[in-house]
Symmetry: C3
Subunit: 350 residues, 3 copies
């Protein structure tokens, strides 16, 4: 692509894309600003990286309108935009190498059950197993070795990478991506204690429902509901090795980082950010727009939208940071206490 073509492409998505410098050069790949070479495009979205503009070999750099660039012309050309990071992300999509997850059509080695409905433009990989009465929407991709038990529904344009397992009845929306090894719809972890100390399994009769535009990482697990549905809202993004237990509801556009674990019957609001290795006790609720720091242990509901949580047990960030600071200060407190005691002794003797 030439710089001019890149400008034209970005103008489809962003207002006021301003080109500074030579516009005919060929750009063949994206790169980090520190290591970009001639013929590559990079970006600066953070003031800390402006210093690299002098040394970079990049032929094109995307920057904010406010960045002065004249001194770097003609070595480098610039596209000035309001949000250089988003512009670069959109541009990356033009350089993605095509990835083949499964060839177009249904692999002859795939096992297709009875009463299965398959849309147009579908790719089903080697040894994939599609259970009875499944429905696969248009343009779906099912990776090699992925197993759908019976009665699974996949919306249009959804991609399952290899070795995903969806249990019976799972309902997946449109444009969903599920990475390798994830297990959707396994039985919730429910056992009723008996008087002899053993447990009886509680039948897990519900399903998992996954909304449109969800992405789920590798080796994550989302359990089916005991009754009704475990619900993953539209646009939710889930990282690797995440656990979502039975009967949870995750609000739209919420983001959950790796190794976080959400216990049964938790309701998380919309547009929350859940940090890595955070954990939730069961049967609690989080309002919208809450930020949960990594490793936080949430033991009760937080119903005020927009707060930030931290610590175990979790508290609003401000309280928790105060507590941590006080903890760091404990040594000083103890010294003061010893000093006061000595002074008091002196005083009471005199």
């Amino acid at each position: 692509m030439t710089i001019l073509e890149i400008r034209d492409y970005l103008q489809k998505f962003f207002d006021s894309v301003e080109l500074v410098g030579e516009d005919g050069r060929q750009v063949s790949a994206p790169a980090k600003i520190e290591s970009a070479k001639i013929g590559e495009v990079s970006f600066v979205a953070n003031e800390k990286y402006v210093k690299f503009l002098a040394s970079t070999q990049a032929s094109l750099v995307i920057v904010h309108h406010s960045v002065p660039v004249d001194e770097f012309i003609p070595k480098t050309s610039f596209l000035k935009v309001k949000d250089p990071y988003s512009a670069f992300v959109f541009l990356l999509q033009k350089f993605v190498q095509p990835r083949v997850i499964a060839s177009m059509g249904i692999a002859s080695s795939a096992s297709i059950g009875e009463g299965v409905t398959i849309g147009e433009g579908v790719s089903i990989g080697d040894y994939a197993v599609i259970g009875d009465r499944c429905t696969i929407g248009n343009n779906c991709i099912v990776g090699a070795h992925t197993v759908l038990l019976h009665d699974v529904v996949m919306g249009d344009d959804t991609t399952l990478f290899p070795s995903v397992t969806c249990y019976d009845g799972t309902r997946i929306g449109k444009r969903v991506v599920i990475h390798a090894g994830s297990v959707i719809g396994a039985d919730g972890f429910g056992f009723a204690p008996q008087s002899d100390g053993t447990y009886v399994k509680i039948p897990q009769m519900g399903i998992v429902e996954i909304g449109d535009d969800v992405e789920i990482g590798a080796n994550s697990t989302i359990d089916r509901a005991t009754m009704g549905s475990t619900v993953i809202g539209r646009g939710v993004k889930i990282d690797n090795l995440v656990q979502i237990a039975h009967n949870c509801t995750i609000g739209e556009d919420t983001v959950i980082a790796s190794q976080a674990g959400i216990s049964g019957s938790v309701t998380v609001g919309r547009h929350c950010l859940i940090g890595g290795q955070a954990g939730f006790a069961g049967h609690l609720e989080l309002a919208d727009n809450i930020q949960v720091a990594a490793k936080t242990g949430i033991s009760k509901s937080f119903l005020q939208p927009g707060i930030a949580l931290r610590g175990t047990p979790a508290q609003p960030m401000r309280d928790q940071l105060k507590e941590e600071a006080m903890l760091r200060n404990l040594g000083a407190m103890r010294e003061k206490l010893v000093r006061l005691e000595a002074e008091l002794n002196k005083l009471s003797k005199s």
Copy 2:
């Protein structure tokens, strides 16, 4: 099922099931008390939910003997029992939709090794791989894509969901359930440090033994012993994404929640409850009936049965809660300290 039939079914398992109200109505599904509709059955096991008896549309509700129900007749009928929750759990089993994990018989696409023994009534799914000299008991189900390396033994009535991997020599009891993606018997994590800074792998020559009536969730990992066996006792229930390292012994009827991790050579007693994301250092021991709170970090043995543990490093719950309360009180302590200092200064000047 009619209400009368449900009464008769529950009487097989529970004493003194008392029917109040109309007994001929058809009941077609279970539901939560808040959302149950006409023709559905629900339960109330917790006083907080008694209030829903007035508004519920359920045709039948299972309650404790002590709950007054006369005012809700004839809208709703009732079965009064001693333990409404367990009764409902047993009843759920009557409403479970049959789930097909693999069709009866051995799929023609399955790969069966040499010297394999297969019992009566077995289902082996598509592309399952059964290694040499494996033994599969009666009525076992092996899901599609599940792999048994050689010399694996499965007891009667055991179910492996799709894409489970059992390494060589794994011994699984009767009525065991292992959910998709779990890996049983991978090598323990043992490496001997060498003087040049590299590591030499310690051969992991033992196996994993899983007792009867164990259930293991999705994507969990249980490592084989270095020598001897990693032992999962009868009736143990393990959730998703749990790690059990080499040479552990987990006592009977112990329950381990999601993302907990148990390091090498740990012995956990019987009937313990291990919370989610709890972690254990290696080579330690837990007595019977110990409750470990979620996220607890256990760094030493606790040999007193029946205690509850919490915090990192773990302490008995009472000590830990006291410490947490004191932590919340630190601000007040600091203020008092400042006040005392001021008073002391005033006093010593006067």
Copy 3:
């Protein structure tokens, strides 16, 4: 093997192997010193276990040169060495039962893509899927159901257990072992927030590079870089259920225990030890030879080599242990404060 043969074998690797006692006995298996029987070999590497020398039935025990053994002759023979633990580990390798992961050759049920290069002495298991243009080195083993997307490279003598998934472009070194269920090269977790509250996926265009002599446990996940490579250095050992995010670099010979999670763009030095369930925030750096305690939460860079870290947020071990001790002492501080207050009141009244 006879004791003499064992002595000769160990002399290949270790200096000054001294045999004390009868040398012709047959030794057929290794065992723990507490439970070893006649015909078995064991070791004592820790003073605590010297007491078992009197009672053990082992025919041969490997001990340090300094251990007095004359009183146990002729019941037991001894090999005296400088490092009994390492000697025993090397000896274990002679007793390992051969494990078959896949039969020699390419299973007829495996699916091999176009333009694939396969070396000498390779075993590819049932239903394995090898994508287009993959390169598989000499003596590699690919387990049943393992999937390589296209353009994956495996160095010589590398073993993938069953049901591993390697995404396109993954580069694996020599003598690497990856256990069942691990996913290498899935997309990094990167989404650009949009002004309407939704997220746009950031294309993940990089790869994963795994150095020689790496071992990776079961069900772990290592994500591909956004641009460039996620790098796992030579000799790194990774346990089960570990998460390594996009763009990380893990230094040579570093060891990472189960359920640890390393966020995006973290650089870990060489020869570090990362404890189980430890977590790292993104974009930080750890120097060489750092020890991270289990469950530690690292929120900033630590650039001093050789330190030990602990706590959340992580601090040098010494500071953290001091803080924990002070925490245990809080009750005493509070009592002293109350006493001082009373004395001060008394004093100021008098």
